[in-house]
């Protein structure tokens, strides 16, 4: 669709229509002294000088490619096949904006449809929306949806302490003003059965993360049944999403809403954003689902076409009844996830997940042999695990950085009782020499 700016004549006609003489008249309400503030800019310099300055700034950046990276905790360092940025940055995709007249943008709609379909297979959920901003906002929207499913008759959200701390913070940011209590994570030791026991007739949902923020796999047998018996919904945060290549997807153990951070699917780490909020649910709940849904249909001539089956209705017709502020989606990131999933295929996803799992277990076994370090996960874990260190993690990480190693996440930041505990993440990108270097560096930091 071409973009045609207004001509001088258009502008004149519009000004005449509203009965003013110049565009400046529109700003009369702004006090004079603030109307045209004096903007102090440095003297103009040449393009050569600008580039020189910018390159100088850029050189101060580092990327995960410069380090052996063992940091995860929500943002994951996975391989992005070159085909994905190449295809996704084609102008047709890169410059496409959210389709306000959706059916004109058949390509955008088809890309979203393919994304929804593949994520539905990955999570084993029947409905996937066109995406949210990131995993944390997806989770907050899922909780709001659970409250809406209960029609305001249930006021309690139970959230596990082993859900990502920033996701829990986002939930609390989204919910003030609602008559809701958020419980469960006030006790950092609360187990899944403790949380299950808290579910009652006032509970809208139980939110868990599986694998947990600490990497552990939960025993979810009979969990959904118990939650449903109490009339509540089970929300599963499937972060890290890569685990679904190997583990039972939440759709198979009765989750009502599945959310996840989609960044690992071809998105790269991008200095923290843009990321991708995955959001999936069951057919019975579709009318309460935030966001939009693209569907496939045929036109009057029987040709395949794509439509916004479920648009963000509140945006158009019932704004005062809006239950969500999501009026858009992460189009480009969803496209990259779709490309990644198509590129990897079912076998590829399994292979990546297996590599993550095996390399993480190799790393954990090596660290476990060090006298002053201890791996704390007692059960099965995926690709993240907790290491009890002999010194504060922040100190260890400073030393590791000098050796070109990006250490794990310092859990004490969010869990004060977890002193000297490091959350280590291992992905397919960690080579054996990298892992060995990491273990040797940890060894060298013993007894200091």
């Amino acid at each position: 669709m071409p973009y045609i700016p207004v001509t001088e004549q258009d502008q004149r006609e519009m000004l005449t229509e509203i009965g003013i003489h110049s565009v400046a008249d529109l700003f009369e309400d702004v006090p004079v002294q603030h109307r045209f503030p004096d903007i102090k800019l440095p003297k103009a310099v040449s393009e050569i000088e600008v580039l020189d300055e910018l390159y100088g700034m850029a050189l101060k950046n580092s990327s995960t490619g410069c380090f052996a990276t063992f940091l995860g905790a929500g943002a994951y360092n996975h391989f992005v096949p070159s085909a994905i940025p190449y295809l996704a940055t084609r102008g047709e995709f890169l410059t496409a904006y959210t389709p306000y007249q959706p059916e004109v943008s058949q390509g955008t709609l088809q890309a979203i449809f393919e994304y929804q379909s593949m994520v539905a297979e990955l999570t084993r959920m029947p409905v996937v929306n066109a995406s949210h901003y990131d995993g944390a906002t997806s989770m907050a929207e899922a909780a709001i949806m659970a409250l809406n499913v209960a029609n305001g008759k249930r006021h309690k959200i139970i959230i596990a302490p082993f859900v990502h701390p920033q996701y829990r913070q986002t939930l609390r940011t989204y919910l003030p003003g609602k008559q809701v209590t958020i419980v469960g994570d006030e006790n950092p030791q609360a187990s899944l059965s403790d949380l299950k026991a808290m579910v009652d007739s006032d509970t809208a949902c139980l939110i868990i993360q599986n694998p947990t923020f600490f990497g552990d796999l939960l025993d979810v047998s009979n969990l959904a049944e118990a939650i449903h018996q109490a009339g509540a919904l089970l929300i599963v945060v499937a972060t890290p999403i890569m685990s679904l290549g190997l583990l039972t997807p939440p759709g198979e153990y009765g989750a009502d809403i599945v959310v996840a951070e989609g960044q690992p699917l071809g998105g790269g780490m991008n200095f923290g954003g843009p990321y991708l909020g995955i959001f999936a649910t069951r057919e019975q709940l579709i009318r309460k689902m935030p966001g939009r849904l693209v569907g496939e249909t045929t036109d009057t001539n029987g040709r395949r076409g794509y439509v916004l089956t479920l648009s963000t209705r509140e945006q158009h017709i019932r704004r005062e009844k809006a239950t969500s502020n999501i009026c858009t989606n992460q189009g480009l990131m969803a496209l990259m996830a779709a490309m990644y999933l198509a590129y990897m295929g079912k076998q590829g996803m399994r292979q990546v997940a297996e590599l993550c799992y095996h390399k993480a277990h190799y790393t954990a076994a090596r660290i476990g042999q060090l006298a002053e370090y201890q791996v704390l996960n007692s059960g099965v874990f995926f690709n993240e695990f907790i290491v009890q260190c002999p010194r504060p993690v922040s100190e260890i990480n400073q030393e590791l950085l000098k050796k070109g190693i990006l250490g794990g996440y310092d859990l004490e930041q969010d869990y004060p009782e977890r002193k000297n505990q490091m959350l280590v993440c291992v992905t397919e990108l960690n080579s054996q020499p990298q892992i060995d270097r990491f273990v040797e560096a940890l060894l060298a930091l013993q007894g200091v």
């Binding site: 009318r287 209705r313 017709i317 019932r318």
Partner: protein, 126 residues
């Protein structure tokens, strides 16, 4: 425009009709024709109680979404589950198969305060 003589009406184009010891509730032929193809009816739950002026549900068509208003107090005793799969019955048969829910009226005298079929016909200009 079709008007059921046995029902009484609201100015927001809903109808109420005695059914045994309860009342059934739906939207009028005029309303369904204004809304055009109905694609979804958001039903209340059995046991929900409501006060005069409350919104109790939503009818959504390809063109618009419209709230369902309650002119009096009462409690839901039945809902038309078949609308989940066949919302178009509200278009095809608004006073029959397209009924939306049944309710107990807190004060049955309220029924006669609704518009009669003739008054409603006049109100819609038929």
């Amino acid at each position: 425009m079709n008007i059921d003589p046995n029902a009484r009406y609201t100015k927001t184009h809903e109808w109420v009709r005695p059914e045994g010891d309860a009342y059934s509730y739906g939207i009028t032929d005029h309303a369904q024709s204004e809304l055009s193809d109905i694609v979804f009816v958001d039903l209340p739950a059995i046991g929900d109680s409501f006060a005069p002026g409350d919104t109790i549900g939503v009818v959504e068509s390809v063109k618009a979404a419209s709230d369902l208003y309650m002119p009096m107090a009462g409690e839901i005793v039945a809902v038309n589950e078949s609308l989940a799969d066949a919302p178009e019955s509200v278009n095809a048969d608004p006073y029959g198969a397209g009924w939306i829910f049944k309710f107990k009226m807190a004060d049955p005298a309220e029924f006669t305060r609704l518009l009669s079929a003739d008054d409603y016909a006049q109100f819609t200009g038929d």
